[in-house]
């Protein structure tokens, strides 16, 4: 009905998006540029003479790193869900003593700078021998997601009708049974949101990886890119090809699950 009067907004919106996403286009452009053209002046705006050498390099050099990142991401999702879902349920529905204090501590936990956590973890891992291990990194990465996860689960689960839980109780279900067969299936959206962010944060993490896994045999892809930049600063096509591959999960999630992304961003910030 208003499409006639608002076509200019669509055009303007396209311009804004093009401006905003120009760096993303540049990743793809540079990743396909021949090495000899990288230093052309002015830079080529379009890879007229594309090469896939950068991507070949990625698959030769970075496959193990991508595998490690995947493993860390999935491990982080599992750990985050295991801890935050039951806790969120307890805070939302079981009215525990000291719940308010716990909520407050979760908010404070989110304010602690990751570099502080990294120093603390480093000091602990040195003694435990956990440095450069995938396990150590999963645990460290999960600290970014667990407080967020609890807050999302609590917010979502307090919206579950009390009748549903009472009905399960009357049918003789234990608290645990109610949680696994009634509450969790109903909370599918919250599970998806938390999983998505836990995976993305672990996949993207640089601070913990660069401090706790610097000399590991299995490094995640973020460190793979960082090492690339340090070693051969001339081959920006390979660096950008790795960057493009490392961005694939983000792209997939945006297409498949964007409403959970937008929901997750607001979940932490606004309560209405």
């Amino acid at each position: 009905m208003t499409s006639r009067r608002t076509w200019w907004k669509t055009v303007l919106g396209l311009v804004f998006v093009a401006f905003m996403l120009f760096p993303v286009y540049w990743i793809v452009n540079v990743s396909l540029t021949q090495t000899k053209d990288l230093r052309a002046d002015p830079p080529h705006l379009f890879p007229w003479n594309p090469t896939f050498d950068g991507y070949v390099n990625v698959f030769q050099d970075q496959m193990p790193a991508l595998g490690t990142s995947l493993l860390i991401g999935l491990g982080c999702v599992a750990l985050t869900l295991a801890i935050s879902a039951p806790a969120g349920y307890a805070l939302a529905k079981l009215r525990p003593r000291g719940g308010g204090t716990l909520n407050f501590m979760l908010l404070v936990a989110q304010m602690i700078p990751s570099v502080v956590m990294a120093i603390g973890f480093y000091a602990i891992y040195v003694r435990l021998g956990w440095l450069n291990s995938v396990w150590g990194l999963i645990v460290a990465d999960s600290t970014i997601a667990v407080p967020f996860g609890v807050l999302v689960f609590r917010a979502f689960m307090s919206g579950i009708p009390e009748e549903l839980i009472q009905a399960a109780k009357i049918d003789g279900a234990s608290v645990w049974r109610t949680f696994t067969s009634v509450v969790l299936p109903v909370s599918r959206n919250a599970v998806l949101t938390v999983s998505l962010f836990a995976f993305l944060w672990a996949w993207s993490d640089f601070v913990f990886a660069s401090t706790l896994d610097r000399n590991g045999d299995a490094v995640p892809v973020t460190l793979g890119i960082y090492a690339y930049i340090g070693n051969n600063t001339t081959e920006w096509n390979s660096i950008m090809a790795t960057a493009a591959i490392a961005s694939v999960p983000a792209a997939v999630l945006l297409v498949v699950a964007q409403r959970y992304v937008a929901g997750g961003v607001t979940a932490g910030a606004i309560k209405d």
Partner: protein, 320 residues
């Protein structure tokens, strides 16, 4: 593709009154035990993986840890000497100034751009959902990807930004290698990173402002500009406060973007407190954990001060 920012995650709590008004029972009710069992993993987790690293951090800052002592654990207790050293050092004021500029310029620009876009997207138009979703991309990319991309965009000799500026007759700017421009460069990249977050939150805040207020304002003869200042801005104030404070807390702790683009250099030109702490601990061949922990703890104090303000405002918003 259509983004719904309505309550996907946090539905309004059911209007049913909580059952069973609390009777005074002396023993713990069974549900209390269940609640504790459900919370036990979280409590253990917070103690082991939050409280203990924090405790180690404070302990590091109160001792003089050398690399040897760090492994053996027999460092000398020096009280607050590390804090006195850091605050009295030449780099402190510069790092504090850089942190303030980085944080405040970043969030001011992110907020302004985010709000402008949110207002732009407020009324539905063709493709608006898709375009709004695309704005999330910078926020979803791994920071190493965005950081290295911006490094290449801003490269002095071969970057596209300088190439465009040259075509306008502006000479080469050494974005990342000149002490005058390094901080500006990381601020630009960080603004780009933060716009999506501001857009999403402010957009959902705008959506909560009832349409009829705008209609009433329009009937009273208010133009778009007046509607923005008289309706949008006042009604968005609580959401704005929370957006800005969250942005502040997140931006204070940023390490990755700065480290990837400039490593805080050249010299200390783009060193913020968080980057300084990172460099002392991990950035050089010789880790110096005591000063690093000290700077980190000072940063926590600043973050908590603003965090306290955030909680205060949120509580006030809930009451109103």
């Amino acid at each position: 593709m259509h983004v719904t920012t309505e309550r996907v995650v946090a539905p309004r709590p059911a209007e049913t009154p909580p059952p069973a008004p609390p009777r005074r029972v002396r023993r713990l009710r069974p549900t209390q035990w269940a609640a504790f069992a459900f919370l036990a993993p979280l409590i253990a987790y917070l103690l082991i993986f939050y409280a203990y690293p924090l405790y180690r951090n404070i302990e590091l800052s109160l001792h003089d840890y050398t690399a040897r002592a760090f492994v053996l654990g027999n460092a000398e207790f020096v009280g607050l000497a590390n804090y006195a050293d850091i605050i009295g050092s030449d780099g402190f004021l510069l790092a504090l100034r850089n942190t303030a500029i980085f944080t405040f310029v970043s969030i001011a620009a992110q907020y302004a751009i985010g709000l402008g876009l949110a207002v732009f997207f407020r009324n539905h138009f063709r493709l608006s959902g898709l375009l709004r979703a695309l704005f999330l991309v910078p926020w979803l990319l791994p920071l190493i990807v965005s950081g290295s991309t911006w490094s290449w965009l801003l490269n002095s000799d071969h970057g596209i930004v300088n190439s465009v500026l040259e075509s306008f007759g502006i000479g080469q700017i050494n974005w990342l290698t000149s002490p005058d421009w390094a901080l500006t460069s990381v601020v630009i990249a960080n603004i780009w990173l933060g716009v999506p977050f501001n857009l999403v939150i402010l957009y959902s805040g705008l959506k909560n402002i009832p349409d009829n207020l705008y209609e009433a304002a329009a009937i009273d003869g208010a133009n778009a500009w007046q509607q923005f200042w008289r309706v949008t801005v006042p009604l968005l104030r609580p959401v704005s406060a929370i957006t800005l404070l969250l942005g502040l807390i997140y931006t204070l702790k940023v390490v990755d973007v700065v480290w990837i683009m400039t490593t805080g250099g050249p010299g200390d030109a783009s060193t913020t407190l968080a980057v300084w702490s990172y460099r002392e601990a991990f950035g050089t061949g010789q880790p110096d954990f005591s000063p690093a922990a000290t700077i980190g703890n000072l940063l926590i104090v600043i973050a908590l001060a603003f965090g306290g303000l955030y909680l205060y405002l949120q509580r006030k918003q809930e009451q109103s």
